[in-house]
Amino acid sequence: MLETLAQAVINGLLIGGIYALVSIGVTLIFGVVKIVNFAQGEFVMIGMYISFYLATQFGIDPILSLLISMPVLFVAGVLIQHFLIRRVLGPNDMPQIFLTFALSLLLLNLALMLFTANYRTVHTSYSDEAFHLGGLYIPVAKLIAFVVAMGLSGALWLFLHATDLGKAMRAASQNRDVATLMGINPNRVFAVAFGAALALAGAAGSLLMPFYSAYPFVGQVFVLMAFVAVVLGTLGNVIGALVASLMMGVAESLGIQFVGADSGLIVVFAMLLLTLAFKPNGLGGGRVR
């Protein structure tokens, strides 16, 4: 019993690391650019297909291929911010919500047309390997994904706190007008934030590929999880999103272990509804919006 519990917690933490990459991206865009990117999950999907094709066409290891998927998605993010998002920034919610929502719809259905709805998997030498610690079972692919995800999250945190550009981003997220007066170019800051968020989503996709199937709708699972984690962890807060994502992973895993194999989504919705009912400002408190 105790071992089953420990195993479920470990499984949850490992997948929670991937959720964290998606959530941090969502919360970074929300904190800095002040919009919710409904298409974040689709960039995880694109990251997965990039790694899938690099692995099957050129034999590149999916985890190594994040060195390609991350820069590709960073550039995509900068371009999307510059040509699309920048045009709808303003006090009005409708264009912002439905522009990123339309983007999600577009990417998802383009993927359906280009790649069909088939599930794609990549089998690596370490896909079936696992460490055994006592009675516990730790799959190598998931452990690598978790460690790299934590490393990238740490790198982002360092970037936000130790570099001038990162500090400029945090300043812009606290008060855009004052930051502009201090000589920070908001467009540059927004573009970097959007690019970085998409790069994290791309990394999540590449890290998933050794143990998860790619299909056009795959991003929806992750983006829903990320939205809940971002509300739970207080909107716009990077550390909060990280902690909440790990919690979500554990909650989902416990649900699968003790309620039923397909109860993962029910747990997610239950957590979202409970959060809204009792802690609408997130566990850390703070403002709604």
């Binding site: 699309l84 709808v88 409708m94 719809l105 259905n109 069909t116 056009p216």
Partner: protein, 328 residues
């Protein structure tokens, strides 16, 4: 304005006559099916627009009420033999009641997070109907018994009859919108849509106004749900709570003209016609093409004309007036 109201009534009369005569002239069942879809999604759009358009509470979870309406009437008909006409009204009331707790939860958030919460509630409802087989046939769903021609059970032999039913629903939705628009309620809704904090500061009871309009919007959406499953003779959770219903409800309003009486109708005519044309050109073989095109239209509207097609039409009309010598 005086010159516009002069031709407004005759234009409306012509429109009504054309719409009433249409099924008598057009006999093709394929074409009638498209007309029925246009009227149905216009009606869903009108229901969405009351809350989403005027008060800018951008829900992507209206499938919740569509599904509740559909399931209420179907359960009443299949299990108790009650006419779907009564079931339709009952479904509306169930949806209205359901909108109270759902609204209580979702209205705690604003802007995009309100939208996300509405998505989650609709998906959660779908999961409930998928999981609990005892409640309503689980994932397989059920076919609705075909009774032949029995108008009292909302079943007809000709598509034309369905056409008139859904035309009546749309007329009801437009009438309600027309009555609300110039009322205090209408002004409150627009005030909330413009700036909720400012509206509250000048004394608008925003939580109550939002709750009331959500109830009306949910009620109307549920009527559409009952009609739809009676029309296709089949119900399952994936159809009744389809995310595509939520998407289309919002899309037709935004593309046509958000927060306007005729916006959802104009938007539906464009989107459904496009979809029908795509289908006849390409066949239904290419999955995803319809929503790809919808997404491109939506992006184009948001970037170039956030007021929607109605905005484009009125601008063109004004330009036309300006170039004409003024006379009264």
């Amino acid at each position: 304005m005086a010159s516009t109201s002069k031709w407004k009534l005759p234009a409306l009369a012509v429109l009504v006559v054309v719409l009433l005569a249409l099924p008598q002239v057009v006999r093709s069942s394929f074409a009638l099916d498209i007309f029925i879809r246009i009227l149905l999604f216009s009606f869903i759009g009108v229901a969405w627009n009351l809350m989403g358009g005027y008060a800018k509470q951008l829900s992507l979870g209206h499938a919740a009420y569509f599904g509740l309406g559909a399931y209420t009437s179907t359960i009443m008909q299949v299990d108790f033999g009650i006419s779907p006409w009564i079931g339709m009204a009952a479904g509306g009331i169930v949806a209205m009641l359901a909108s109270l707790p759902i609204g209580w939860l979702c209205f705690r958030l604003r802007g995009p997070y309100f939208t996300i919460a509405t998505i989650a509630t609709a998906q959660a409802l779908m999961l409930i109907f998928l999981k609990f087989r005892d409640l309503a046939w689980g994932a397989e769903g059920t076919t609705i018994p075909n009774l032949g021609s029995s108008p009292l059970m909302l079943q007809f032999e000709t598509k034309a009859s369905y056409y008139y039913v859904v035309l009546g629903l749309l007329a009801l939705g437009l009438l309600i919108t027309h009555r609300i628009e110039p009322s205090w309620m209408g002004y409150y809704l627009v005030a909330i849509g413009e700036d909720e904090d400012a509206a509250e500061a000048i004394g608008v009871n925003a939580p109550r106004v939002k709750r009331d309009i959500y109830m009306i919007s949910a009620f109307l959406t549920a009527l559409a749900g009952t009609f739809y499953v009676q029309y296709i003779y089949f119900i399952d959770p994936a159809t009744a709570f389809s995310f595509n219903i939520s998407i289309e409800a919002a899309l037709v309003s935004i593309v046509g003209g958000i927060g306007t009486l005729w916006g959802p109708v104009i938007g539906t005519v464009l989107l459904e016609t496009t979809s029908a044309l795509l289908q006849s050109w390409l066949g239904s073989s290419i999955g995803g093409i319809q929503l790809t095109v919808y997404a491109l239209i939506l992006i184009a509207i948001i970037l170039w004309r956030p007021t929607g097609l109605i905005g484009i039409i009125t601008e063109a009309y004004r330009r036309h007036l300006r170039h004409k010598p003024a006379h009264t």
